[in-house]
Symmetry: C2
Subunit: 333 residues, 2 copies
């Protein structure tokens, strides 16, 4: 379903439906990112947390819990947990990527330093862990501990796969399933678990989060070549400059002529990038229609997400989650 002619975007409709819960999450986040002894911590955290991110991941947790009829207080803790883990990984990513821009603003490692980004990330990760412990639910801790390990593993895999033209689509899928989808699927699954939903429901929520996260990351990688910096808050061509093998490039490398292969070898493997190279890369992606193919894959994953929860009982939140899957891909327009 296309959403162009709707007045409210699905993530906004979700935010509206969950507004009381989201307010509680925001209050908890502000409370827990404080530090009695080290004022640098809330400064750095606030820079990122209050930069106007969509709070997509915590909303997924809230929606999943409410969808399963949860009435207790701990979905708020879990939503804050998920946002803290996300923020911690962003802080560490910016150090790893040496990026200068995030959500349209200078990154924390530029405004302060790499040290602050590393340590404040560690602090938020520890705080997230405290929040989960407060729920008193070991299964929730288990799911989020596993997700944390998978995220870090995906990031390391991305690091070693970068600059390697042999990286194929299956490695790419493994990377994004780790670095992005693992937190999405944990976010939705723990919402169901805290509500004591039956296994088939928590499994459906997990599958939804997994597919949604994959679609989301594929779209992100698409926009890195095709987006405009004003709308995405990222610099176009960042992945190219960082010599990351993302789906549009992996597909173009697979279809490359000998001359084109030599080009990719020079700019990605050797890192010898000159004026006009980004434009040449964009020309090759257009020539092989790999941006179109990338968009098609994102749509397939969004459809998988929708199918995962289609069998759950009809419910406003379920329908909003289904719309959200469409919207994630609609960002491409």
């Amino acid at each position: 379903m296309l959403l162009d002619n709707r007045s409210t975007k699905p993530h906004e409709a979700l935010a509206e439906t969950l507004s009381a819960d989201m307010e509680a999450v925001n209050a908890l986040i502000r409370e827990r990112m404080a530090s009695k002894h080290a004022p640098r911590i809330p400064e750095v955290s606030a820079h990122l947390i209050e930069a106007g991110g969509k709070r997509l991941r915590p909303m997924l947790t809230l929606a999943a819990a409410r969808l399963c009829g949860y009435e207790g207080p701990y979905h708020v803790h879990l939503a804050a947990t998920v946002e803290f883990i996300h923020t911690a990984t962003l802080l560490h990513d910016d150090v790893v990527d040496e990026s200068g821009k995030r959500r349209g603003r200078p990154t924390a490692n530029l405004l302060w330093d790499n040290k602050s980004s590393v340590l404040v990330g560690d602090y938020l990760f520890a705080r997230s862990f405290q929040l989960m412990v407060e729920t008193g639910r070991l299964r929730v801790l288990d799911i989020l501990a596993n997700a944390s390990a998978t995220i870090a593993e995906g990031e390391v895999l991305q690091l070693t796969a970068a600059q390697d033209l042999a990286t194929d689509e299956s490695t790419y899928l493994q990377v994004i399933r780790g670095k992005t989808a693992a937190l999405f699927s944990a976010a939705t699954e723990v919402g169901g678990v805290i509500a004591n939903a039956p296994d088939e429901v928590t499994q459906a929520l997990h599958a939804y989060g997994d597919a949604l996260g994959i679609a989301f990351q594929i779209v992100d990688d698409y926009l890195d070549y095709a987006g405009d910096s004003g709308a995405t808050g990222k610099n176009v061509g960042d992945d190219f400059r960082e010599r990351k093998l993302t789906l549009p490039v992996i597909k173009a490398v697979a279809l490359a002529s000998d001359t084109e292969r030599a080009f990719w070898k020079r700019v990605i493997e050797k890192g010898d990038q000159r004026d006009g190279d980004l434009e040449e890369a964009l020309r090759l992606l257009a020539h092989h229609r790999t941006l179109d193919a990338t968009r098609a894959e994102a749509t397939t994953w969004a459809d998988k997400a929708k199918a995962s929860i289609a069998a759950l009982p009809q419910n406003k939140l379920r329908d909003l989650l289904i719309d959200l899957a469409d919207y994630v891909v609609a960002r491409i327009r």
Copy 2:
């Protein structure tokens, strides 16, 4: 009690007494630092974990658990947890300190890169968290979550206090209590908790770990000025070059004449360090006898550690822990 004329050092005696447990810990560590998808992870981890550290922290957990009569399997998980948290913080520290040497070998961030150190640290932290979850004990999770937050907070505090001559002994104590003692006290406390020891025993074990950790870090900071690089595996003067305000310098600044204060201002606050400055700093520490005063404080904390567990029932492991407190300070000789 001085240990110079004993043939076996206390940490070696502990290792011997706990050798079967330590073997199980080492096996578990090797198993859990593996990664199916990202071989970079065990490479980086092994560099540090197998560099011949003394495994002091996991031994504290094992000793505390056995001292309390524990016969189950989970002290091994907790000891591995503690070593993973320690290794993760070392990896991140080396990025933060921009250090080149650790345990007498080049640091991981030099051998690989900062990115690998950050991400492998994150992975080990997540793995440690999985290990704790396996124990199924929420109180253990609570203690280690709190310790993790305190560690990160101490590190950030150290970062903001560095290069600031106004840093006093109470801020210094807060920093080292966070960055070092929090993990020591959690390590001993969870040993008691897993053994279902009564509150007064787990509190005594916590107090022991706290005081031991403080003594340990004060000695470390002493050795940074007075040690020899061969024995400590660190470069002498590292803290000076990194402009860290540690106890020997804080005490010297407090006693400084105007000329001396100008010297500290130049080398620590402004970071304008020239040939001969480290020698001048050492001369000032000697002149004000601040290394002696630092050693005296370490001894006081070691005595506090011993007193904390003196009331526990007589037991070989209790006595080894008491000897260990002496030994931590005896490293100074």
